[in-house]
Amino acid sequence: MTAELQQEIDRIYRSESRRILATLIRLLGDFDVAEEALQDAFGIALEQWARDGVPANPRTWLVSTGRNRAIDRMRRDARFVSRVDELGADSLAIDATELPENESGVEDDRLRLIFTCCHPALASEAQVALTLRTICGLTTEEIARSFLVPLSTMAQRLVRATGKIRDAGIPYRIPPANELAERIDAVLAVVYLVFTEGYAATSGDELIRRELCSEAIRLGRLLVELMPAVSETSGLLALMLLHDARRDTRSTPAGDLVLLDEQDRTQWNRAQIDEGTQLVDASLRSARVGPYAIQAAIAALHAKAPTAADTDWRQIAALYALLVERAPSAVVELNHAVAVAMVDGPESGLLLLDAIEARGELRDYHLLAAARADLLRRLGRTNAAVGAYEKALELAALEPERRFLERRIRELRSRGSDRAPARS
């Protein structure tokens, strides 16, 4: 076999294997059998294509070869005898023309598969793992490393998930209209979880984390392509692109945290910001603006400001107020309070933080204490600010965040006791 053919097969594997797998899962009705069929098909391709050349439509060839091989295999395996009957054993001599030729048929298979992987009857961590394994094609080992769990744990999790899909009869289909909205939310949540896992955590291997972010963005693009009518798919993709555009400036080479107002804006990824901003504009035009689009709009305002001082905090505060209405949570309220403080001054922000705390929410959330500390610092109430930073330090778990808080405390201590309010 020539090196050229090997390269060609590698290329086809990279670009087509996930679509082929999706179609095989539909045809065979079993994740593990389909996965094996996919590997078989590529193995046979290596031999046959060397002899006969690459077929005109490699994907169709691979699907029918994989399917035939799987049915052969299942016939020899007593456990699957009844399944072969269900699949219609007499259709064994597959005619390649019965496979979906048109793109939309194949795309539907991938969309079905996403909905199956993100089915609410699966635990959230299983949904994430299965999506990365099946849709993105990451290996079990790569997924285990990204989530810092032992390989055996991750393998078990995947086996259990595909087992439940098979044994509990989780369907392989695009949900009907009356369930679609809720099910899309679950899919978007999984994709965003993959992204934040790669973006937010600062522990673990940086390369792997970057990989998770780019996989999430790829999934986001796929969702926009598959469900263009759903505006939240664009909102989510925009949000991820805009955050990711800043990823390299968020910490120093030594791993110290760099806050938004101190980041080097010339290093932000302009192409991603432009793409994200266009997506935001499009999704804001939709009749019902969703939480991802609103968060993306906020990220776009930050990204568009040439300097931190130029940030349009008034609009950001308004968007957070809208977000509090559409997707209420104490964390969103905290962000709203911070934005209000930038517009109306630290006192107004403190009042809003008091309201959150009075309800007993976010007591153990280090960022609430850190936000309070920052507002107190800006009011020149140094002693109270140090106290709040110390509380935040007690609650913070990540090393870079802890180092940042310790630095702030040192700065304030050297500044001495309370003094006139600082300008920023």
């Binding site: 009857a121 044994d167 509990a168 009869g169 989780i170 369907p171």
Partner: protein
């Protein structure tokens, strides 16, 4: 596929219901059962006496032990079940959602394990 829909509810709450409420609930169950019988999903089902009538039996070392009470103490108790035919989990979840007890208690959806015929 066949699924067992297990209806769990808080018994002490259920016994506090007024006669009128209990009557309305019974009627709702009858209507639901009729509708899933008509649609062909219904394979069987029963309501159970409360757990204070339960006896748990174990055989240990060849010796039978019968004890008073349910297998496990929990906040919600098994109060009844349906056996249904559904084409997949989504359809089974759709049936479970319509069980009157789903609004106050919980429905556990369990696929029936198919036993291959002995050959």
């Amino acid at each position: 596929m066949q699924y067992l829909l297990l209806i769990y509810q808080n018994e002490s709450e259920a016994t506090k219901r007024s006669d009128a409420d209990a009557g309305a609930m019974r009627k709702e169950y009858m209507t639901f059962t009729e509708s899933i019988a008509k649609s062909g999903h219904y394979k069987g089902g029963n309501a159970l006496q409360p757990t204070n009538t339960a006896t748990t039996v174990r055989v240990r070392g060849g010796k039978r032990q019968a004890t008073d009470g349910p297998f496990a103490e929990s906040r919600e108790q098994l109060g009844g079940y349906y056996l249904v035919d559904a084409k997949d989990l989504d359809e089974a979840i759709g049936l479970a959602e319509r069980i009157p007890g789903a609004r106050t208690g919980s429905i556990e959806v369990r696929p029936i394990l198919p036993i291959p015929a002995a050959s």
